[in-house]
Symmetry: C2
Subunit: 147 residues, 2 copies
């Protein structure tokens, strides 16, 4: 990986690609001991955020398709981190909850992922890192309600 010609280092797209790649690597590394991916951690986070969500609600919160959520939950259920139970009030739905193991994994994996983020931001001074986060939020959340 020598790479990255000067013509490209000014392009936002290129910078984003490499930044995300690096973050993904750090994250995967940090999460490996827990046997979960960054996306699976995100699912756990969403499920922990509110009690008793249906699969589709969880998918909506994560911003992924419901069919994608099926695969995530299949994997997490295999690892016994979440459990699907039919919703007694609406038998079309599955209520998805964290297991005890899931809650524990979530807690420790989140800490590991936080550490990865800190390593990712290490090249920046503390104040710059804070500003960076804020700016990223501003451009990311800006106008998602377009269509």
């Amino acid at each position: 990986m020598s790479t990255t010609a000067p013509e490209l280092s000014g392009r936002l797209g290129h910078l984003f690609k490499h930044a995300q790649l690096r973050l993904a690597e750090l994250n995967a590394e940090a999460l490996a001991p827990f046997g979960i991916s960054g996306r699976e951690l995100a699912v756990l986070l969403v499920l922990a955020g509110q009690e008793a969500a249906s699969q589709q609600q969880a998918a909506g919160r994560l911003g992924v398709d419901r069919t994608t959520m099926v695969a995530f939950l299949d994997a997490l259920e295999d690892k016994e981190l979440v459990a699907r139970r039919p919703d007694p009030d609406d038998r079309r739905r599955n209520v998805v909850v964290l297991t005890a193991k899931g809650a524990d994994t979530l807690k420790r994996a989140t800490a590991a992922s936080d550490a990865a983020e800190r390593r990712f931001l290490a090249p920046l001074a503390a104040a710059d890192a804070t500003r960076f986060r804020a700016a990223l939020q501003a451009v990311a959340l800006h106008d998602d309600a377009r269509t």
Copy 2:
């Protein structure tokens, strides 16, 4: 696209994903009139950066695999934006150069992409946008020479 639970808006990974998605959309929109993708523009940029590059050199500069470069060049050659010519000094190599049409497209597409970047950064004040770029560069280029 309601989306994006509060549990996730603090996660860098999630923010990156959505920021990149938005940038990609703006870019694709801006580039559509030229019939090229953001990646193809990047290839053109790299080729314009130095005269007479082999495919593999170009791939190295772009940070992609040489097999990936084949597909890019196939597409760009179909559009008559680049030309492959056997290198007289080393007949294993193809020298890849911009055509006149390619150079023209590059110039205009770059301007359009710049405008897209400006729109992407619009939520930020000018000074913040500059800092954001710098920070992104710092974290992206940080330590790619790991392995």
